[in-house]
Symmetry: C2
Subunit: 294 residues, 2 copies
DNA sequence: GTATTTACCTGACTTAAGTCAGCTTTATGA
DNA sequence: TCATAAAGCTGACTTAAGTCAGGTAAATAC
């Protein structure tokens, strides 16, 4: 390779600024200055609180106020005082505003499609984009508690099954693998953690109480796009915090010899290998960790 | 996957605009407004002609003039009338300008490094970035004639050898594969084409005269980052043009059964399979194409 | 040689964006 | 209860960016 790493990185910046610079200026096509358009779009994307908007767009309080006034007199947004704190204001789109917002959405979609459509290996490209976006947005990764039946959790779990099936060469059967029923992985019996990076589900991890002070960690999965960012470690740490809150003192988990990265993680974070404790045919290694009560 | 293709694409735009927006505003740290800084950087990157600068930065003639005046009074650039056309002006950095420019370079490198350094699978990330940048900059791909010993050609050829070695599971031996010596692939006996995308070598293709009006196509390679963009077809078309200019009427090439994409390309673009014409142990299929003289 | 075009420059202007001090209203803590 | 802080608004300002109509000098066309 004749280009060094930094040059390759900066090559991406150039490509995207050229491209998204065009995207930004396409926003001018609807007659609003960019600042006003940005505010309208942020509101359309669900930001409601004025303070939240200001932080997100990094705008001065006075400027923000004026931009909101512009949109208000145009009739695309409506503001009212917050119920909880009458000093704060909440903003929402009017019917007209929804309409205007959808025009911007359409523009963005068009420009995305125009790039995607002229490239034949779409999935390869999208996976590369997922990876780049996730690494760049690394600081925005959010871990939250979600319901086991949340579609975002489901998509992670499905990806987990697919991956295991691929590694083992046979269809992974979740029942054989000891799939805990959903109830076991939501409060009060357990918890299911979901990691999101700007709308994309990139990882999950579940905890179920086994009885008494014993818990089991299940469904630990991190998307290929998010590997190498220390996400599994973060998920593990959070799961342990939840375990302590549930009053658990011992955690167990099983894993396979082929998942070497996972095993290294467990070994380096206080888990020790123990005897087989279940009859999961996919598992070859069993680990245990004692938790200090909070 | 809960996100559709367009959302995944737009996720990248957001990530990079946030990131490179930060990059842009980091340029403000040196005290110059962004417009002036952009002009300085474009000059540092080798743009010399005022008209070229204006087209590249998409600036109005008057505004451009004023920005240049600002930089000139600051002492970082010098302008003079062009030797060929005294109406035109050429710009260059002064010693002070070089110094200032290198500060911006340093800033860009720092911000690139700060992202790269906190991610463990650097090569995977860079390959994803190569792909994304190449697809976005698809319209900027340039095919030029290069010397067989040009380091950019060498890096392509090395990648070609590595890939073939991987596919065949053994070390590919270029001598067994009938590597034509460099002289055979430069004028007047042949040609070596190089495809570049914003500084990154992404493909090559060589032509050597076999004697009389017979030529052979060798070293056709396209980087994984550029597959699916129709680059191999473009390379093939250009090689045929060069072949005609060299007075060749028949082209031959050999390929392996494992390179199915290559074979499909040949079959769909006027090549027909022929008998083995050499003793290259890596080759299993042989093709020929007759050219209509120009 | 003269008319036209081209490349760049200058001055006068508009708009967008951002800053800052001070204001009102509401919440909060001693 | 009263001082203080917080959230948002308004007015006055600055700077950056961009537009446009001329203007000059050089090149090119007729």
């Amino acid at each position: 390779m004749t280009l060094d790493q930094i040059s390759r990185f900066r090559r991406l910046s150039r490509a995207v600024t050229t491209q998204t610079g065009a995207l930004d200026s396409s926003f001018l096509g609807l007659g609003r200055p960019l600042g006003v358009a940005r505010v309208l779009n942020a509101i359309g994307q669900g930001k409601q609180d004025v303070a939240e908007l200001r932080a997100y767009l990094q705008l001065d309080s006075g400027l923000m106020s004026r931009l909101l006034r512009t949109l208000e007199t145009e009739g695309v947004i409506a503001t009212k005082a917050s119920d909880l704190d009458a000093r704060r204001r909440v903003v929402c789109l009017t019917a007209l505003g929804e309409e205007e917002f959808s025009k911007y959405e359409e523009l963005s979609n068009q420009s995305a499609l125009s790039v995607l459509s002229r490239y034949s290996q779409t999935e390869v490209l999208l996976e590369a984009m997922d990876l780049v976006a996730t690494v760049l947005g690394r600081d925005q990764i959010e871990i939250t508690v979600a319901d086991p039946e949340d579609p975002r959790i489901q998509s992670c779990v499905q990806a987990y099954y697919d991956e295991i099936s691929e590694i083992f060469g046979t269809r992974f059967d979740p029942v054989l693998g000891g799939d805990p029923e959903a109830d076991a992985m939501r409060a009060p019996r357990g918890v299911f953690l979901l990691a999101m990076s700007d709308g994309l589900p990139i990882g999950c991890c579940a905890l179920k109480r086994q009885g008494g002070a014993l818990g089991e960690v299940k469904r630990m999965w991190v998307s290929p796009a998010a590997r190498g960012l220390g996400l599994s470690k973060r998920l593990m740490t959070e799961i342990e915090t939840h375990a302590r809150q549930l009053g658990l003192t011992t955690l167990q988990l099983d894993t396979n010899g082929k998942l070497t990265a996972a095993r290294r993680l467990y070994e380096s974070s206080g888990w020790r290998e123990i005897e087989r404790y279940n009859d999961n045919p996919y598992a070859e290694h069993f680990f245990e960790k004692h938790l200090d009560p909070a």
